[in-house]
């Protein structure tokens, strides 16, 4: 069974230390949940203290690698995972140790994902003061045929008044958060099937000050399908 996108949910808020999305349904078999969190704060924003499915009392997700600080440490992005999330209509939730100026959370669920080894090693890229409009790009050079690469973008510009994001060619946008407010933080999540050993994920970011900052995560999902071993038999000779 190939990997298939199932559903997505998101939420964004100002001046919060915790945030919960509306409920969204996860269904199907061999499920996998990927969640991205973006934060901006006047001083270094903290790592999320927890990310959960189904509210503050729900199931903990596991962080995939370290978070990425960018733009003089005012922005932070991180990705989180949960193997076999419950098939249910539930929320995603993030908690932080302090009130942060702006926080957003995006989640996508997938079916047909290998439940023993669901992902390959992630690849990341980040930049500060990129000229507008300009691409945010990351290349996952560790993919295999039938993988599905999911990416998570967190971007923005301090002092700006708007940032828009557009998914690159060949990718399918799954969820986007755009803020027209001051000191914006925006982001998105998209997917692209792997047809070989490398997949490049790209977003076009346009901000109003002429520059923007971003962190982009690329994470290959591994399918449940295991190529059958070809058994070549030959008569035994004693």
């Amino acid at each position: 069974m190939p990997i298939a996108f199932d559903n997505s949910g998101k939420a964004d808020a100002d001046a919060v230390s915790s945030l919960e999305s509306p409920a969204w349904l996860i269904s199907g078999s061999n499920r996998h949940l990927v969640v991205g969190v973006g934060v901006i704060e006047i001083t270094t924003p903290p790592d999320p203290s927890s990310v959960k499915r189904n509210g503050s009392g729900g199931t903990n997700l596991t962080q995939n690698g370290s978070s990425i600080l960018f733009d003089s440490s005012q922005y932070r992005g991180s990705i989180w995972e949960l193997v076999a999330p419950a098939a249910a209509n539930e929320t995603i939730y993030v908690a932080l140790a302090e009130t942060c100026y702006r926080v957003f959370i995006i989640g996508c669920s997938f079916t047909g994902v290998n439940q023993i080894t669901p992902t390959r090693t992630r690849t990341t890229n980040n930049a500060t003061n990129e000229a507008d409009p300009g691409p945010a790009t990351v290349t996952c050079a560790n993919t295999a045929l039938n993988d599905l690469v999911v990416d998570f973008l967190a971007c923005g510009q301090s002092g700006g008044t708007a940032t828009n994001v557009a998914v690159g060619a060949g990718q399918t946008e799954r969820a986007v958060v755009e803020s027209p407010d001051l000191d914006i933080l925006a982001g998105g999540m998209s997917t692209e099937p792997a047809t070989g050993s490398s997949v490049t994920m790209t977003w076009d970011v346009t901000a109003t000050l002429g520059v923007h900052h971003y962190a982009l995560f690329g994470l290959p999902l591994i399918p449940t399908d295991v190529t059958p071993l070809r058994v070549v038999s030959s008569p035994l000779r004693w």
């Binding site: 001046a15 409920a23 209509n89």
Partner: protein
């Protein structure tokens, strides 16, 4: 229709514990809202000044006249003045919610206060614009 602010809990002092919002019918043409928790500002230092006081607010939506409820989103925050990276006071902690379509929808919610008491207002700003910016009117 211009955006309209509705106070779910009026400006008052709320003690530790939970407080619920009375379920309200949402007009059928409303497609989005912003949940607001009034914050401390230099203009009124009596509103939620304590950085140890935590306020959590959660909304639920019913599409069947109140028989069943689904989570519509929630936010929590600590008190004190919050400053944006552009050095602007943040007047409200807020969450934008896109509402599922339906007829006769109802909205209810709850706040939980810890390390209170807290003096604040909990409001929603309703709008008919989906996916775009909800212009919140001044208080």
């Amino acid at each position: 229709m211009a955006a309209q602010r509705i106070d779910l809990l009026p400006l008052a002092i709320y003690l530790d514990g939970s407080q619920t919002f009375v379920p309200r019918v949402i007009p059928d043409n409303i497609v989005g809202l912003v949940l607001e928790l009034q914050r401390c500002t230099m203009a009124d230092l009596t509103v939620w000044p304590n950085p140890l006081t935590h306020l959590w607010a959660r909304m639920e939506l019913s599409l069947d006249g109140g028989l069943t409820w689904i989570a519509a989103g929630g936010i929590g925050s600590f008190g004190g003045i919050s400053i944006s990276p552009g050095n602007i006071e943040v007047a409200d902690s807020c969450l934008k919610i896109d509402l599922l379509p339906g007829l006769g929808r109802m909205l209810r919610g709850q706040i939980d206060v810890t390390n209170g008491p807290i003096r604040t207002t909990v409001s929603i700003v309703v709008d008919v614009v989906r996916g775009g910016r909800i212009i919140r009117p001044p208080r």
